[in-house]
């Protein structure tokens, strides 16, 4: 593109006048001209400082042009400038005078970074313990004064956490049942043990996968939603407003969510189990095993202990996921990223926590012979 006549005329020139350096600017020094002339101006500014800016040939100037001239000649006097150009330059000079260059970010020091991260983790852990303590104390208080718990909120969250998650849970459970049945039938067939597929899938679902996958669904759907909702309330200072009004924020915001998730999770795990077994039964039918054969295997090998052990785990998972979600939301920082960070922390924390807890339960159940 050809430059406009003004831009073509825009130029700067360093001159000597009676032993003083003068920077002469002419034409229209606008943003485009400033971009073009910047290297030249900085090169000229590398020498002795300019005593004056000769501006009689200036046709116009914008703020980027003013920044160019004032960066090259910060302390120069203005000569021959129109009233408007002088005003723009003066205003920009004052503004730059109050705005020192931003210092470069501190160089990354690994030891310091590790130290900071460790301290930060320790603080988070302490705050987490304090949150748990607060939740326990509030629960005890609610046991003596049940009115503190808002049952309408519990029902609302039960709907959110439970009812609305049913379709997804059923779909996932069914698909997992289908996949497990197919995958386990391949090796078992080699030993002529295909008939034991229901035993394998049934035990896996009831004891492990049902509660665990329901937990993953809960962490992804509900843990993040809790964190986002409470995080937004924190950012909007609604939580502070509750505290100042003398309302117990834990009883109002946290407890209903904990109760709802703890009650809903066994139901979700049960649905996951039923859907999974249905999927497995369907596949066994296609492999030539009638419903009666599958039912017979399940009755022989599965016990109520397997079912209730899994459902107990699910309830514990629900409590922990909701707790982590609420904690992430209530500890959200300020700014627009805070809510997203809280939601991420809730999902990641929730999933890690239930897998870790599942490991503990596995050892515990093994020791107890459950």
């Amino acid at each position: 593109m050809d430059p406009s006549p003004d831009e073509a005329a825009a130029q700067i020139e360093a001159q000597e006048e009676g032993g003083r350096r003068v920077l002469r600017a002419s034409g229209r020094i606008d943003t485009e001209a400033a971009a073009r002339l910047w290297p030249e101006a900085m090169k000229a500014a590398a020498g002795a400082p300019f005593a004056a800016l000769e501006l009689s040939g200036l046709k116009g100037i914008d703020s980027a042009g003013a920044v160019l001239l004032l960066t090259a000649a910060p302390d120069a006097e203005f000569r021959g400038a129109t009233e408007q150009a002088a005003a723009v330059l003066e205003r920009t000079r004052r503004a730059l005078g109050t705005a020192p260059p931003v210092s470069a970010p501190t160089r990354w020091r690994p030891i310091t970074a590790i130290g900071h991260a460790t301290v930060e983790r320790a603080r988070t852990a302490v705050a987490g313990i304090a949150f748990m303590g607060e939740a326990v104390v509030t629960t005890l208080r609610v046991l003596t004064r049940p009115r503190l718990l808002r049952w309408s909120e519990v029902l609302r969250h039960l709907d959110e956490v439970g009812t609305r998650a049913f379709p997804l849970t059923l779909l996932l459970g069914f698909l997992i049942g289908v996949i497990l049945a197919y995958q386990s039938s391949i090796p078992l067939r080699r030993f002529g043990a295909e008939v034991f597929v229901p035993n394998l899938v049934g035990i896996s679902l009831l004891r492990e996968l049902g509660p665990l996958l329901a937990g993953v669904v809960l962490a992804g759907r509900t843990g993040s939603a809790f964190a986002a909702e409470l995080g937004t309330m924190t950012v909007n200072e609604e939580v502070d407003a509750l505290k100042i009004m003398g309302v117990d924020a834990t009883a109002m915001l946290v407890l209903p969510r904990l109760v709802a998730a703890t009650l809903a999770m066994p139901v979700l795990a049960l649905l996951m189990n039923v859907a999974g077994l249905a999927g497995m039964t369907l596949i066994m039918g296609t492999l030539g095993y009638p419903w009666a054969s599958v039912q017979n295997q399940l009755q022989q090998w599965l016990s109520l202990q397997d079912l209730f052990g899994g459902l107990f785990k699910a309830a514990c998972f629900g409590l922990v996921i909701a707790g982590i979600g609420c904690r992430a939301g209530l500890s959200a920082g300020r700014g627009p990223r805070a809510v997203g960070d809280a939601a991420t922390a809730a999902v990641v924390g929730g999933i890690v926590a239930i897998v870790a807890m599942d490991g503990v339960f596995a050892v515990l159940f093994f020791r107890l012979g459950i």
Binding site: A64, T71, R91, T92
Partner: protein
């Protein structure tokens, strides 16, 4: 021949569903003018601003900015036109992951060939203009609402647009900062010929900076007054206008 207005609005109407926010809004804004859109809360001032810049669809009417009708332009022309417009949002609307300086450098990076050092210096000068020279390296989460608003003005001015829209620039600011901002707006309009469209209901600001204004009214669903705010204050016989300028309860 009279100079073409910077903004020409003809019969503008905005409806949300069956609810009419305003209708039959017609006005011109001249070059270098500080034009104020005023009115009580909920009368559609900010909606009118958004309708002018194409963020809210018009149910009726036409708006021309800098001689071009935004709604009729193709993408490239729209982009070119929007580059010549600056908008300061009510909340500042700063990008949370960037420092204040980076927020201001963003339009410079996108629309100019200025080298990094120049962009950084321009950003500092803009922040200095709004009294935030020492906050260039801070994140939006680390500053107050009033500071965010001022940083929003600095970002709107980054490209020296000939037309600047300011949505409630002085709301929530202390009187000294607010007066400083009013002076800055007047100085820039005088020195550079920049046209300002300011949405506000701050009486002192309206009277200090407004060359002309229109007043919207919720009940009338449109304009109820137009002219010099000082004359409206002194001479208007329209009850709502009088009540507004004299701070009388309805």
């Amino acid at each position: 021949m009279a100079e073409e207005p910077v903004i020409r609005a003809e019969g503008l109407a905005v409806r949300f569903g069956s609810r009419t926010i305003f209708k039959d809004v017609t006005f011109d804004v001249r070059r270098g003018e500080i034009f104020v859109i005023l009115g009580g809360s909920g009368c559609g001032k900010s909606t009118l601003l958004k309708a002018l810049i194409g963020l809210v669809p018009l149910a009726a009417g036409h708006a021309w900015l800098l001689g071009e009708e935004l709604a009729a332009e193709d993408d490239a022309a729209r982009r070119a036109l929007l580059r010549r417009i600056g908008v300061m949002w009510q909340s500042g609307a700063l990008f949370g992951s960037m420092t204040l300086a980076e927020n201001i450098e963003l339009p410079l990076e996108e629309h100019t060939d200025l080298p990094r050092a120049a962009r950084e210096a321009v950003a500092r000068s803009k922040l200095g203009l709004v009294g935030l020279g020492d906050a260039a390296g801070r994140l939006p989460a680390e500053i107050s609402g009033g500071m965010a608003k001022r940083a929003g003005i600095a970002r709107a001015m980054a490209l020296d647009p000939p037309l600047l829209f300011l949505d409630e620039p002085s709301a929530g600011l202390d009187p000294i900062t607010s007066a400083g901002l009013d002076k800055l707006i007047k100085d820039i309009a005088r020195d550079t010929g920049t046209t300002f469209v300011v949405v506000t209901h701050e009486l002192q600001s309206i009277l200090a900076i407004g060359d002309r204004c229109i007043m919207l009214d919720k009940d009338a669903q449109g304009m109820i007054a137009e002219g010099d705010p000082r004359r409206l204050k002194a001479e208007s016989t329209q009850p709502t206008v009088r009540a507004f300028f004299r701070r009388e309860a309805a």
